[in-house]
Structures are given as structure tokens and as C-alpha cells.
Point group: C2
Chain length 239, copies 2
Amino acid sequence: MNLILLFEQDFVTGQERVQLRGRRHQHVREIHRATVGEELCVGLAGGRMGRGLITRLDDSVLEMDIQLDTEPPPALPLLLVLALPRPPVLRRTLIAATSMGVKRIVLLHANRVEKSFWGAKVMAEEELRNAAILGLEQAKDTLLPDIQIRDRFKPFVEDELTDLSKGSTALMGHPTSSVPCPRDIKNAVTLAVGPEGGFVPYELEKLEACGFAPIHLGERILRVETVLPALLARLFPLA
Amino acid sequence: MNLILLFEQDFVTGQERVQLRGRRHQHVREIHRATVGEELCVGLAGGRMGRGLITRLDDSVLEMDIQLDTEPPPALPLLLVLALPRPPVLRRTLIAATSMGVKRIVLLHANRVEKSFWGAKVMAEEELRNAAILGLEQAKDTLLPDIQIRDRFKPFVEDELTDLSKGSTALMGHPTSSVPCPRDIKNAVTLAVGPEGGFVPYELEKLEACGFAPIHLGERILRVETVLPALLARLFPLA
């Protein structure tokens, strides 16, 4: 936790003092091992970042006086269309994506996505949000990503994706493509990442018809949690 | 498991027939749901890749006739010096690194590495090897990485690292560096990646004295399992 993400309901007096209990309180006591008088990096969800001066820290509460004066880091100009991975991979991929600055994610069904994944615990709105919060706390960022769920491939690609990807460079990761992933794209990108085993031919055709160009990162087949950071580091300057 | 990694002891008749039990047998039955007559992608550890024709598959054994005719994909010209991450992160990082073609890894102590990490189960030689096998099976590769353990920072950096990194571009990931990670390096690279919280100033000085240049991938602080694929995708063509 490199930044403690704060929410409106944490504030006890206007915009200046917060009281935290639960996970964040415990983390500061046990991992940071902080003490009264120390300053921690904090940020207001959707707002600025700054410092929290610890005014009280005991068994029951962490209290800080907050100063917010820094804008969060820039977001990636990206829409990520992600075939739903298996639950533990989904969680790690959301953390990784959020930590790298992804702000728009569509979790999409595909032929090789197991139906049972849609009923997994991590798919609950609160769990998706918790994974995103871990990503923001890791990277020092405050802006939660928008995560949309689309459990039918065809209507999403036919009815929504053309509009969503309009004006962007539309790419799909595909290990057997002959085109290497482009470098340092300056404009917006829509990136589709397939499931384990890849999109089936019908899905590839649908995406190509929608303007998506298949690209690869070499012949090795990588896990989604590995290929995504690699693709983002290739596509964007990140500097 | 995109490739089934075979070992000499799996062969029952010369170089042609294997019998598998345990994890690989179970995986082919339950995940691949393969049947007799089908061909699977296989590779001999340290050797070639090819196909295995299933000749028997029942409760007790998976038997295949093996043809090996393809070289494994090229390795990355990289020595990775990795401050030991916490155990679950280490395991995932080894899988990710191996899947991307890393063949030389030194797990190193650093000030911010918790001592207890060195005693973790995953540090057993067999567990490190198992993680690497998962990476090879994922990426379709056969060459196991060499994983060295160095639980003292100073003697390693002073006595070994200069020789190990000789002739290579020596870089260390450091979020507050002012130099962005270079792109598509043509020669060998030695890459040092710090622990959570980073190398301490003394360690940075030691590494700089050893010729390591600090580089960054933007202001966001990323988990090692995320930053490593990103750094590798930036450093190497991967095509």
C-alpha cells in the first residue's frame, strides 16, 4: 500500500481529518508500523493526492490530518476489452491493469471462457472494486476504473464495440499474428485480449470486421496477467 | 499447459514412447479432455519440441508416441537479478519470467527483503523448478532457467556481479530515476529489480558503482510480477 485511498465517508471534519478502521488501519499498524507524527501518502478517490499526518493510532483507529495538493498520474488512453479470465487471474489482472493506469475495462464473454467464471465471487461489484483499489494503492493513483460486464460476445461486438472504439487504434492480441505489437502509439487504443486458448475463428472474424488488427508479442504464449503489462509497456510511452 | 514438458525418465522405449502419470496425466484428462489418437504439443526438457500422439489414456496412464523436430524459441539475452519477493509473488514472477524466455535468474537479498522469505516453501529447489516448468509449459519452451540463490547482498555485488554483468547493458529498475527504460536493446542486458519499497540508498550506490544505470517506467509503482513483463517488453523486441 504505497498510497492510502480515502473516501468521502472517511472524513470526520470537512476535508481535513479522517478516521480509518479495518483493513487500512491494520495495514498501517502492522505493515507500515507507523507512529503518531509520521506522514503517509494518501489520496482521495477520484481526487487529489497528498499527505496524511498521523494524529492518533491505537487499537481502534487511525486518525490523520489530510493535505491534498497533487494531481494523480495520467491515465492510459485505453479501452481494454478483456475476455473474462479464470477468477484468480481476473483479480490479479485487474490489479495489474489498474496499477498501470487503465481506466476503462470491459469484461467480455468468449467461446473459450468457461461459463462458471461468470458466477465467481470476484465478479461481485464490490470485489471488482476492491481489486481496482489494490491497484490504485499500489501505483499511487486515485481514479477508479470503470468496469463493464458483457456476458454475450455477439451483441457487444455488433452493437457497441464500433462506437466504443471509434477514433482509436483497435488492436487484438493474437500470438499467431504476423504483425508485431506497435510501439509508443500517440492516440487512443482499444485493445482486445482473448481467453486462454485464444479467440475462436468466428470471434476473430467479428473483431476484424469491427476494425481490430491482430498483433503479437513474439511466438511465446503468455498468461493474461503477463501479456497485458507487456502489451501496455509496448503500446504506450509510460514515462 | 500449452506444451507438455517431458524428461528422460518419462521415456519407456528409447526416444519414442513416453508414459506419464500424476499432474500431466491428470491435466490432459481433465483440462485438455484429450482422447486416444489426438496429438498434443510436447517438448523434451533442454531439447526439441514436437508432437505426442496419444496411444493410451485411462485412469492410470497417458502414453504417447513422440516426434521431436522443432527448436524451442530463442531465449532472452538477459541476466535477471531479482531482490527476493514475498513467496506467492516469487512464484508468479518466476512463472512470468520463464514464460517470457528468461534463462538466468539470481534471487538476491536486499535490505527490504524480509528474512522470513528465505525460509519459504517455494524456495526449495524443487519448488523453484516447478514454477519454472509451469512457465515453460505456458510459453511452449523447453529450456529450464538457471536459478541462483544469493542471500547476502554485499559479497554478491562486490565479488560476483561485475564479472556476471561484463559486456552487458546493466540496468536497475528505479521508479524515481529520470531516465526512461530504453527500447529494443540489441546486446545482452543485466537487469536488477529491487524489493517492495525499492533498494535502499546504500544498495543503489553499490549497484551504480558496479555499472548499473537506474531507469524507470513512469511514476507509477508496480508490483514485481507486473513491472517485469513491462520492462522485458520494453527492453527486447520479443518478435
